[in-house]
């Protein structure tokens, strides 16, 4: 009987401990479970659907957390959708610690960058610069060298296809100096070859419009261009889908942008010739470091350059880590 009593006593204590842990179980979860950081940065991208932007944000966030900064993506979890300028405005009014902005050439953006600077909020532009603004630093790609690479690739493809090869470069509506630089570099590379090159601006500012615009542009051609060069990931995906739909895989060669799994698989299959991608991890490190350096020291280098990653059939397998994976290896071309 003594044994049973002691066993029951132990059972009671164990039961109370379980009961206590059960009642305390949800105290540390949900809204109570968070960590604070000393700085609050906001990343404002051009296109919320852009996978490059998405991946860049993830890298920014990840690197920021390691450096006691939290990088918020503007417009996330909001019931309404705001334009880039409005997001800038909100970030300024929210008095964030710093802004990482995918730049453009609009005057409004310049004004807002200047306003942020006047409000004591440093702005770092990324991927595309905001010329003539008071941004503290620009983390960009080496577009000229990328353009030459694009050009050489077109030449090599044209040698394989036809002497009178036609190439089309699909540029973004927000076309900025970076894309222009890239296009110029392509033109200069192709000039001695006599390859005919054209450009078309795809205005994909409004959501879901890119595919329609690309279809409109390509439908104007009696025969599709031999080579289509895309300078954004959405344009790449739309152009590729268009070619598949028209059953023109093999007739037209696409040089894409970004390294989504579908693009990589297409390269692996030979449907896509090659693609250029951004080393987002390196870019993220540059952005966060630039803001931290500026806040800590009051000045920072105005320009950080990173190279594109070139991927074709020869090296695509090493980037096909897994089909669901988004990341590329940090390997520059």
């Amino acid at each position: 009987m003594t044994f049973i009593t002691v066993a029951l006593l132990i059972l009671t204590v164990v039961g109370l401990v379980i009961f206590w842990s059960q009642t305390q179980r949800y105290k540390a979860s949900g809204i109570e479970d968070y960590q604070t950081y000393s700085r609050h940065y906001v990343f404002i991208g051009n296109d919320s659907d852009s996978r490059v932007s998405e991946r860049l944000y993830q890298q920014l966030r990840e690197y920021g957390l390691q450096n006691d900064c939290y990088v918020e993506r503007a417009g996330d979890n909001l019931a309404a959708e705001y334009s880039k300028q409005e997001q800038m405005d909100i970030a300024i009014r929210s008095e964030v610690s710093g802004i990482i902005l995918e730049g453009d050439n609009s005057e409004e953006t310049v004004r807002l960058v200047n306003k942020a600077s006047e409000s004591g909020i440093p702005v770092v532009t990324v991927m595309a610069d905001v010329p003539d603004s008071k941004r503290v630093s620009f983390v960009g790609m080496n577009n000229y060298s990328a353009g030459i690479k694009y050009g050489k690739l077109i030449v090599s493809i044209s040698e394989r296809v036809d002497e009178k090869c036609k190439a089309l470069v699909l540029m973004n509506a927000e076309g900025n100096s970076n894309e222009n630089t890239l296009y110029v570099a392509i033109q200069e590379t192709l000039k001695p070859t006599g390859i005919q090159i054209e450009s078309a601006v795809i205005d994909s500012a409004s959501p879901l419009s890119a595919e329609e615009k690309i279809a409109d542009v390509l439908d104007t051609y009696e025969s599709l261009p031999d080579i289509i060069v895309c300078l954004s990931d959405i344009n790449t995906r739309c152009a590729y889908q268009y070619i598949v739909n028209k059953n023109a895989v093999g007739n037209t060669t696409i040089i894409g942008f970004y390294d989504s799994p579908s693009v990589l698989r297409a390269i692996d299959r030979g449907s896509l010739e090659a693609t250029f991608s951004v080393d987002t991890a390196k870019v993220a490190v540059c952005c966060v470091d630039a803001l931290n350096e500026y806040i800590d020291k009051g000045n920072v280098s105005e320009y950080f350059s990173t190279d594109y990653i070139f991927m074709d059939k020869k090296n695509v397998k090493q980037y096909l880590v897994d089909e669901s994976g988004e990341g590329t290896k940090n390997e520059t071309n």
Binding site: M1, T2, I4, T5, L8, L9, L11, T12, G15, L16, I18, F19, W20, Q22, T23, Q24, R25, Y26, K27, S29, G30, I31, D33, Y34, Q35, T36, Y37, S38, R39, H40, L65, C69, Y70, E72, D76, N77, L78, A79, A80, Y82, E86, D89, I90, R93, S94, E95, V96, S97
Partner: protein
């Protein structure tokens, strides 16, 4: 556990009962209190789940009010609007103090930070607009008002979004917590059942330390009452409480009962022996008296008659006849006077002298009687009528042998090893050894059933009376051989030794 038992054994029953009730009550109360506090905390947390939504709704309403106040004031410069503005701007200032102000990786908390910053920015801009209005700077307050409108729009979106997100999270938390609450309730019920069981067992355990010794005590009492207390063993005492005291007292009582029973038994044996002895003595005396009465016919009448005859013989100068009759008279007088008394041995010897004289007259002087007396022993006290029956026995056995020689009887009184001895020797035909053995072993004699002439006061009677008188300390010795005579020796104990009064 042993220590607890030892400790409990020293505790009084009242304290034990208090411990039992206190222990079970404290356990039950403690468990209840613990469960109550935790359940209450849990319920409070559940209640607080939607408090963030309520706060955000209030903040949203207050911002609408402050914006209405601002708009009204800028439009009309009305004091009511200004008052409305200030009242709600104050409330907003207080409310946003509760919101998170640190950058964080939690989306909701980050939303709070943004709402806080935007609200603060709105209030600052609104303040500038108010100041512009007071300064009547239309351009200025219009610009700030437009900024306020934009901020108002942003704020509403942020609060709405945060509210939605919070509600979604809170709903999940609420559901989880409600599930957890149900689980906790079941757990709680199980704990109560276990605690109740444990308390019952605890009560049984602790009270058994009281009842177990009582049960043992009761069993022992039953054993005693069943009528065999001597075989009942003492109880083990393992507690120092009241029951321990009772058990101790019970054991003492049991020991006393056993001693008392022993004493009573001894007393009964003694009394029985005494009674038996008394009855035996009385029996012998009555038997002797009866035999004497029968033998003497009427001693008093005979004694008186003999006295008269003696006087007559003296008057007629018949001296021998007179002496004879006088001896007979003395003999019978002794019988009458000394019956059932203790006497000096000298008186016994005198009686023997009278008896021998009478017998010599009867048997014409054929009995030769000789005395060897240590006169220092003449005062030894003996029961009456112990020598004459022995002499009579010698005479009786000697008479049967008269044809050959005369009867010779010697009476000796002497001291041997400090003890007075009376020895009567004769030269008769001797006694049968079987009869001697029966006499000395105090067995009933067969000759008691023989004819009347042998119904005199026998040796057996003498031996029995000596045993009774001297508590068996008087030794009796009979030595006899066929035609070699008989020697009877009585060893009389010292006078200072106990004897029957």
């Amino acid at each position: 556990m042993r220590r607890i038992r030892q400790l409990l054994s020293r505790v009084k029953i009242r304290q034990k009962l208090i411990i039992v009730f206190l222990a079970t009550s404290i356990i039950a109360l403690g468990v209840n209190l613990f469960v109550y506090i935790n359940l209450n905390t849990m319920l409070e947390r559940i209640d607080a789940v939607y408090s963030t939504n309520i706060n955000l709704n209030k903040l949203s309403d207050d911002i609408k009010n402050v914006h209405a106040g601002l708009t009204g004031y800028l439009e009309t410069k009305g004091t009511d609007d200004l008052e409305l503005y200030y009242r709600y701007s104050q409330e907003i200032t207080e409310e946003i103090e509760d919101l998170n102000d640190q950058p964080t990786d939690n989306a909701l908390k980050l939303g709070e930070l943004n709402v806080r910053s935007l609200s603060k920015n709105y209030l600052e801009t609104a303040e500038k607009a108010i100041r512009g209005k007071r300064a009547r700077n239309v351009e200025l307050y219009t610009r700030f008002y437009n900024e306020c409108c934009e901020s108002f729009d942003y704020l509403n979106t942020y609060i709405y979004s945060l509210n939605n997100e919070t509600f979604r999270t809170n709903s999940e938390s609420f559901n989880t917590m409600i599930d957890s609450l149900h689980y906790s309730q079941i757990l709680c019920l199980s704990i109560f059942i276990i605690v109740s069981l444990m308390n019952v067992l605890l009560i049984v355990l602790l009270t058994s330390t009281i009842t177990r010794p009582l049960t043992k005590l009761s069993e022992k009492a039953k054993e005693i009452s069943s009528g065999n207390p001597e075989n009942v063993e003492l109880l083990m005492i393992d507690s120092n409480d009241e029951i321990g005291h009772v058990t101790r007292a019970f054991n003492r009582m049991l020991v006393s009962i056993k001693e008392y029973i022993g004493r009573i038994r001894e007393q009964m044996v003694t009394e029985s022996a005494m009674k038996e002895k008394s009855l035996l003595m009385e029996n012998h005396m009555k038997d002797a008296q009866l035999k004497y009465l029968r033998a003497q016919i009427n001693p008093h009448f005979l004694f008186n008659t003999l006295n008269a005859a003696a006087q007559l013989a003296m008057m007629e100068d018949a001296k021998r006849t007179g002496d004879y009759i006088q001896n007979m008279a003395d003999f019978f007088r002794y019988n009458v006077k000394k019956d059932n008394e203790k006497v000096r041995i000298a008186e016994e010897i005198e009686l023997v002298d009278s008896y021998i004289y009478i017998m010599n007259v009867r048997f014409s002087g054929e009995i030769s009687f000789r005395k060897e007396i240590d006169e220092s022993l003449l005062d030894v006290i003996v029961p009456s009528m112990i020598l004459q029956p022995i002499i009579e026995n010698s005479v009786k056995y000697g008479i049967n042998n008269l044809d050959e020689r005369s009867i010779e009887i010697v009476l000796s009184l002497y001291k041997k090893d400090g003890v007075a001895c009376v020895e009567i020797r004769d030269n008769g035909k001797g006694m049968d050894q079987k009869i001697i053995d029966q006499l000395l072993s105090r067995q009933p004699l067969e000759y008691s059933k023989k004819p009347d002439d042998e119904k005199s006061v026998g040796l057996a009677n003498v031996i029995s009376r000596l045993d009774i008188f001297f508590y068996g300390k008087a030794k009796f010795e009979i030595k006899s051989a066929e035609n070699q005579g008989t020697s009877v020796i009585i060893y009389i104990p010292r006078r200072d030794e106990p004897c029957i009064e």
